[in-house]
Symmetry: C2
Subunit: 272 residues, 2 copies
């Protein structure tokens, strides 16, 4: 999907919500366990119910790998089930030397036909380049993550430039790709950094996890992070997909998604 | 596997060779394509032939993911096929926030029962902790990798301490785990840094990729990196597994592995 198409979808749906599909067998409603593939059934019903309110879905690959081969199959089925017009993200945080990253690109861009994959930057340009040869596919590079330990390394100051490590990651990566291929992960819990980040990358989309269970504020993120093409995909996982643990889980998920979308509409109305 | 057991195996086999099982469908001998699972058949024959000469195997997960669900199944079969007494490494370079890393730990330490997994450090302590609750299992943390772009971020100097980023990664991680749970990836192409690294971590094992096709020197790595318990697992992939592309691929792989092992024996004889 191109940046222009993504922005069209955002305007159409008045939403920049990304729903994180991170289901665990012990957390989904009990009545689904009778299905042959309970996790897929859960995802399917969540997708059907929440599709009007979001522009993207982001399965976190770890939750599927935890179930072994069967889980990998569920992941493939989930990506296949998602309609063409929705932006799909494999939250995989991959990254390795060139010939290995090429295999990861093949896995996610070819086999699963996702629009985007999250990539870890520690190993540098080599690790990112093989993902960039695919047209209309995206790398979402970890910049400043939502977890407490992001301070262990990401915010350390560098001697040569007085930048923080995550700033250098962002700046360096601008040499590798255009804003049509590259987004950045910035945690909602890092909202106060968004002004600084937007000054560096006024045009790029940001994928913002950490709203909801992790405590980030949608209002703050939207006010500080939006650009003229919205520029934000805000991810919410647990507070939507686990809005109810009963038979009404899908309609409750839809209600929770709609509530977020309605708030997003307010911020988009100011922008547009 | 414990550190003591690993060292016993090294002494027994006079080898600290780790063989990288990174097979690609277009690179394995053509006659294997008639098998139901050509990659597994390739791995099986490589393992059977090279087992006397190595102490560890390291499938790189990307090569299996590139084949989709079927590839994931092949990876599981490969780990199941590897005998209990060999050290097994999932080269997966995973790392995510706590609840997600816990899923990756479940995938590799429970489903696949591997001894060790490679982990990327960018997101800090949160990403590593969930792997450390497993007894006799190992995290192999990326420190200084073998690729050219390792210089993009890993070797940058930090303002607060005049350390390079990879040094800080090593030092910080020493607070999280003991030498019985934690190894580090240091590329063979970075051999001149080994003296510095050994001064910081005299006891830890290092996983050294980059000997062979990538151009690192076994002699240099061994001379600079060994400690009193060997402390090295040197990985060789392509120059062993693709020693021949014909029907004799397994015996040629064995010959290539034996050649490396014979050289390792010389260095071990000096140490022991």
């Amino acid at each position: 999907m191109t940046l222009a198409t993504l922005f069209e979808k955002i305007k159409e749906k008045k939403s920049y919500l990304c729903i994180g599909l991170d289901p665990a067998m012990h957390k989904i409603p009990k009545h689904l366990l009778q299905y042959d593939d309970p996790i897929f059934e859960f995802n399917k019903q969540i997708i059907d119910a929440t599709l009007p309110y979001c522009v993207a879905y982001k399965p976190n690959v770890a939750f599927y790998e935890a179930l072994g081969t069967k889980g990998w199959e569920t992941l493939e089925k989930t990506f296949n089930y998602l309609p063409q017009e929705i932006f799909t993200i494999a939250d995989a945080k991959r990254g390795d030397i060139g010939n290995t990253s090429a295999c990861y690109a093949q896995a996610f861009f070819e086999h699963m036909n996702v629009d985007a994959i999250t990539v870890a930057p520690y190993m540098g340009k080599d690790t990112v380049k093989p993902f960039l040869i695919y047209e209309n596919k995206w790398v979402i590079l970890l910049a400043l993550t939502s977890n407490a330990s992001s301070k262990d390394f990401q915010t350390l100051y560098l001697k040569d430039s007085n930048e923080q490590l995550f700033e250098r990651v962002v700046k360096e990566s601008l040499l590798w790709a255009t804003p049509d291929q590259l987004m950045f992960v910035v945690g909602a819990t890092q909202a106060k950094m968004l002004t600084k980040i937007r000054a560096m990358i006024p045009q790029h989309f940001l994928l913002i996890p950490g709203v909801g269970t992790q405590g980030g504020s949608l209002e703050e993120v939207s006010q500080l992070g939006m650009n003229q093409q919205c520029g934000l995909l805000v991810n919410v996982s647990r507070s939507i997909i686990y809005a109810s643990k009963d038979k009404d889980f899908a309609s409750q998920a839809a209600a929770a998604a709609k509530k977020v979308q309605q708030e997003m509409k307010k911020f988009l109305d100011i922008l547009l």
